[in-house]
């Protein structure tokens, strides 16, 4: 009898807990005092640990920006390293509050898996890297080439499509991981290696003679990478989405961590004023502090700053902005206005 009561009590308290948890991720996050953020277990430039053991990179920056928006403190993030296999379950089960982990926005993930992609923070696509000594300048001249390819990924399918459309033949060299691909490619077991262009650039940066290799201009797939949250909590999705949008808009309006202090008091541009809170009440609509956008830009930086810090020309990865430039510079980044 006692046992039954115990079980009943456990069940009711569990239900109470689960009801309590649906109150909203933003409230939950505030109550526990930190954001639990899912990151990768290591992708060059996008997510890695520094020598002191802190998570850094292009993706963790998004989490830090959300922490800056919610708490005004980038350190209030706890990271959960997730792998390609555990990431979605970790998010769906509530173990993490948001996922920022090189995740491609696809139809089935968005619709079928019950997740909400809040935007795109990196437009990637599959490309090819080959030796300059091959003497070709385009992937369309790769007829008969041997290609190192990671098995079981969408890249494999994209590759087959590309060669079929262009009527070329190729010889696949199946490999398992990026590190293995690098080794095989360096050892000349394949003519070219194909994976996401950002990965190619990162891999190339580790070669002894990066200049002897060339990334061909053809990008054969769409890989929009972005942060995501659980479906069904629009308030929290808004917070993450507009954190990202603030970073992009800030770059467009020319607001950076260097000049945000000057602009905070007010400026000639009403967009900036609304964003930084000297005009209007955007912060009340989203339920955050008045300084939320200021904190993001001051503590993390605008999109361009973050890009340059981890991926840009001054890093060993040395990626061009390309598609990830603002729409005003011929790229795809276009955030809705702050009004």
């Amino acid at each position: 009898m006692k046992k039954t009561i115990g079980i009943l009590a456990a069940v009711t308290s569990a239900t109470a807990l689960s009801l309590g948890a649906t109150a909203g991720t933003l409230d939950d996050v505030r109550a526990k005092g930190h954001i639990q953020c899912g990151v990768s277990t290591g992708v060059p430039g996008f997510g890695f640990t520094d020598d002191a053991g802190n998570w850094q990179g292009f993706d963790p920056s998004v989490c830090q920006a959300v922490a800056a928006a919610v708490f005004g403190d980038t350190s209030k993030v706890k990271y959960t390293p997730t792998t390609g296999k555990t990431r979605f379950e970790a998010l769906k089960s509530g173990e993490i509050d948001m996922l920022a982990r090189n995740t491609t926005w696809t139809f089935s993930r968005d619709v079928d898996l019950g997740l909400t992609f809040v935007g795109v923070n990196y437009y990637d696509g599959q490309g090819f890297i080959g030796r300059k000594s091959l003497g070709i300048s385009s992937a369309k001249e790769l007829d008969g080439a041997s290609v190192c390819i990671q098995t079981g990924t969408t890249t494999e399918l994209n590759l087959a499509d590309f060669f079929r459309i262009n009527g070329l033949s190729y010889e696949p060299v199946p490999i398992e991981t990026n590190e293995e691909a690098r080794t095989n490619y360096v050892a000349d077991r394949c003519d070219v290696y194909t994976t996401d262009a950002s990965g190619l650039a990162a891999t190339r940066s580790t070669f002894d003679d990066p200049d002897a290799h060339v990334v061909y201009p053809e990008i054969i797939s769409k890989e929009p990478l972005g942060p995501l949250v659980r479906q069904g909590d629009d308030q929290w999705a808004d917070v993450v989405r507009w954190t990202l949008n603030v970073m992009i808009n800030a770059e467009e309006y020319g607001v950076s961590s260097a000049n945000v202090d000057d602009l905070k008091g007010g400026s000639d541009n009403p967009e900036i004023n609304r964003m930084l809170g000297s005009e209007g009440n955007l912060n009340e609509m989203i339920g955050l502090d008045k300084d939320w956008a200021y904190n993001i830009i001051k503590q993390v930086g605008n999109y361009g700053e973050v890009f340059e810090r981890f991926l840009g020309a001054n890093t060993p990865i040395g990626l061009e902005r390309g598609l990830n430039a603002l729409y005003t510079d011929g790229g795809l980044l276009y955030a809705p206005p702050m009004r």
Binding site: T41, G42, P44, T49, T80, T82, T86, G94, E179
Partner: protein, 367 residues
Amino acid sequence: MTDAPYQVGQHPDLPPPPSTTGVIGWMRNNLFSSWANALLTIASVLLIYGLATSLYKWGFANADFQGASRNDCTSGGACWALINVRFGQFIYGFYPESQRWRVNLTFIGFLVALWPLLFTGAPARKQLLWYAGVYPILAFVLLLGGFGIEKVETAKFGGFMLTLVIGVTGIAVSLPLGIMLALGRRSDMIFIRAICVGFIEFIRGVPLITLLFVASTLLSFFLPPGTSFDLLLRVLIMVTLFSSAYIAEVVRGGLQAIPVGQQEAANSLGLGYWKTMYLIILPQALKISIPGIVNSFIGLFKDTTLVAIIGLLDPLGIGRAALADTKWQGLAGEVYVFVAILFFIFSFSMSRYSLYLEKKLHVGHES
């Protein structure tokens, strides 16, 4: 002198011919007994020499030990600077630096607790055994905090410390559990036997990696959202269950090797089931099972690297995250060699101890 007559059987022993003794004799017998063997020997020596020298050049002579990034490694050999800079991470994971003494203390305490368990000759063994009994609680408090010391979340556990926590917990808990399962499987009580057989066969029929995925993804769906049932704890439970099923089968093998006469003799002396098991059957069965048990333990210890797949940062996970730092990219060889050395030290000591134990317990039947 040599001509002196001897009685039959009185001649003093002559030394063996010099060509069959000493280093030369040994080499002639073992390395150069025929042309084919001589060729093989020379080829092997050359091969070993070549490997050893290139390894030495790569790992020591041309290696860099200091530096802040890969660019500082200019000698062309291994770049141990990465290991040097991140040694703390490889050992302690993200455990706060100011609190790392607690991990060290736990480890020393572990060695002290191990001493009376492993060696009967330890001084003050009785007191030490008591200490070993309460050690798990001590370790728990030391590592996690509470009772006045700063709390550290298990999410901060990583590196080799994580390997040891998982490995040691799995080993320590799975042995008694495995013995119980083995006894249960041979029990006359049908219900207990059915449960044990079902459990063992289920666990043995499923790969560890599947159980780890269940632990990391599925379990949290059964729990109310918001209640975070610690991931490390879930992994520990799964690893322990997995290992106990294997131990159970190893121990069952030992139990079956004991002649039924032993049991009958114990019964005729009036010993009950538990006394029979404790005094007669298990001591013999476990002695037989030692190689198998230690084999399982070593396997378990190495299997802990699988947790990297569900996002726990064991030494391999730490290595992967470190290699993603653009400062250190492309040093996979160094990381894996280092991790391999760490694992070898522990696995090799375990296997040596098992040999020692077998020799020590080797009192009776030589088979």
